[in-house]
């Protein structure tokens, strides 16, 4: 079981070539269930277009997508099943909230996919618990009077409540302050574990991508130009920079240390603790 994209293409009907997003071309990839996949690429590289194919918001003009037993191609109908299977958290998802109460808003998705009343309540409760929103405290409040961070959580709960198997997160922490960012990411990937989700994580923050993804695809001009584990992808610093992308902090530091002739090892993405140890050993060596 898993997700297989087989040579999918989608071209926007736009003559204006200056428009940044003009589609995706001939993309094939295969993802095992339960994995966390990082997607990086500069703005307009086709990331969003690709992600919108995963739950059939856009249908591939060529090629097909297989998600478990479902097949999406240019003739796909009955899209509700696929929407239930693949949840999609857009950038600034709180912009889509519209109901009078938090409960009703979170219940919108489950209702649309035809759950019964009792099932809906259970789904809302579970989703709110997952997002660490107290059910009794929040269910009757208006989503509009919540703080930015809480709104974001409610908006994500509206997607989680549909109990998807696959979750697409498009810059889920954009615009939040540092602590809320850190907490929300940790929470989302906890939910990934407990619900055994396959996650596609789109972000511009390379440290987050490195930290949370098991496998990374790099996109540019509508194509996948690089793929691999965080270690593999982030060792190709020259290529990444040519694509206008950054690298994790540790890679930057190791690169600079190497340039200064202080470090001779391999340039790789590691977390700060490991980086500290590398530097420790470096300084220790000279004392020997």
């Amino acid at each position: 079981m898993g997700i297989i994209l087989d040579k999918i293409s989608y071209k926007y009907d736009i003559e204006d070539k200056e428009l940044s997003s003009f589609g995706i071309f001939d993309i094939s990839l295969q993802v095992e269930s339960g994995k966390a996949i990082g997607i990086i690429g500069h703005t307009g590289s086709g990331k969003s277009t690709l992600m919108q194919h995963l739950n059939a918001l856009l249908l591939p003009q060529k090629g097909q997508i297989k998600i478990d037993d479902y097949i999406i191609n240019n003739k796909s109908k009955n899209l509700k099943d696929i929407r239930k299977k693949v949840g999609m958290v857009f950038q600034y998802p709180e912009d889509q909230l519209f109901e009078e109460t938090v409960f009703k808003d979170i219940a919108f998705g489950p209702k649309n996919i035809g759950l019964k009343e009792q099932e809906i309540e259970a789904a809302v409760k579970r989703a709110m618990a997952d997002l660490e929103l107290d059910y009794e405290e929040y269910k009757d409040r208006s989503p509009y009077e919540l703080s930015g961070g809480q709104k974001r959580k409610v908006a994500i709960a509206t997607v989680i409540a549909m109990d998807p198997d696959v979750l697409v997160l498009d810059e889920p922490t954009a615009g939040l302050d540092p602590k809320s960012k850190k907490d929300l990411l940790a929470l989302l990937f906890k939910i990934k574990e407990t619900r055994k989700l396959t996650v596609f994580f789109v972000s511009h923050n390379m440290d987050d991508i490195y930290l949370f993804s098991e496998y990374i695809y790099v996109m540019s001009q509508g194509k996948i130009v690089m793929e691999g584990s965080g270690l593999e992808v982030f060792s190709k610093t020259t290529e990444l920079r040519e694509l206008g992308l950054g690298v994790p902090f540790s890679v930057e530091v190791l690169e600079d240390l190497k340039k200064q002739g202080l470090y001779r090892g391999e340039i790789k993405a590691i977390d700060l603790k490991e980086l500290a140890e590398v530097i420790f050993n470096l300084l220790g060596d000279k004392n020997d």
Binding site: T43, D177, K179, S180, D207, K273, A276
Partner: protein, 276 residues
């Protein structure tokens, strides 16, 4: 200089409860300096920013811009001319149909004669690197380009101070970098005072002064190195440390002492090189 003394602000919620958003703010902003204001969402920094050009008139306390007090009188237009402002959402501050029209909008408002506008628009666009895009409408620009032209539109009005309220929070890393570079350059070359509100710690390390706000109060204020020394305090109020400082912390734990608080990768590498 902008002189803020004993500034307070509260607003009434719909349920009649008063909420304090600013409490006893005292701050001097020197002319020509680069001042960053940080704090988590809801710390009052945005309300504070709107006081600096009289979008909000002080309820109590006093703000003076180059000796002119901000009050609800005709001077407020003079002050808005002296203190330019750039907002968070690049779309919601773009008034013209193209960049040049947007820059012209401010000039029209302050009564710049029509024949002088062309030059001022060119000059401002050049300063933010948007001279090739003057005829473009906003929806054909990237977020970074839109914010740069917003800065250009303010520069054209030739203010002494520019206040930027989270100008980079909706941008991708490339756009963020473009905006910060433009700001640093304008500050250095034209001596324009920059007051940058942000929650990206790596954007503030180059400032002359960092002001940390929490719950409507200024909790720390000083040079970046002084401010980021107070790690526990910053973490407690939901802020982060620059990555270099975090790494320094990790190193300290395993017995590598790097001395003074380090803020940038460059400083860090230099320090290691010295120790090596």
């Amino acid at each position: 200089m902008i002189k803020i003394s004993n500034l307070n602000h509260r607003y009434m919620k719909s349920n009649g409860k008063g909420v304090i958003t600013l409490e006893d703010i005292n701050l001097n902003i020197e002319k020509g300096s680069f001042v960053s204001i940080i704090g988590h969402n809801g710390s009052g920094k945005s309300t504070f920013a709107k006081h600096l050009n009289g979008l909000i008139v002080p309820q109590s306390g006093k703000i003076e811009v180059d000796g002119i007090q901000i009050k609800n009188d005709d001077n407020i237009w003079k002050i808005r001319n002296m203190v330019g402002m750039v907002f968070q959402n690049p779309d919601n501050q773009f008034i013209g149909g193209t960049i040049e029209e947007d820059i012209a909008f401010g000039l029209e408002n302050i009564g710049v004669p029509g024949n002088e506008m062309e030059d001022r628009i060119q000059d401002a666009a050049l300063k933010v690197g948007m001279e090739e895009y003057l005829k473009r409408p906003p929806h054909k620009l990237s977020g970074g380009q839109k914010q740069r032209s917003a800065i250009g539109a303010v520069l054209a009005m030739q203010p002494e101070y520019i206040v930027l309220d989270e100008p980079t929070s909706m941008l991708d890393p490339k756009g963020r970098q473009e905006v910060i570079e433009v700001l640093r350059k304008r500050n250095k070359e034209d001596k324009i005072t920059i007051i940058l509100i942000t929650h990206y710690m790596d954007e503030v390390v180059y400032s002359d002064k960092v002001v940390v706000m929490d719950k409507g109060r200024i909790v720390i204020s000083g040079q970046p190195k002084e401010v980021f020394k107070q790690k526990e305090m910053l973490l407690k109020i939901g802020l982060e440390l620059p990555k270099a400082a975090l790494l320094q912390d990790h190193l300290k734990k395993i017995g590598v002492e790097l001395g003074d608080c380090l803020l940038t990768k460059e400083e860090l590498v230099r320090k290691i090189w010295e120790l090596y």
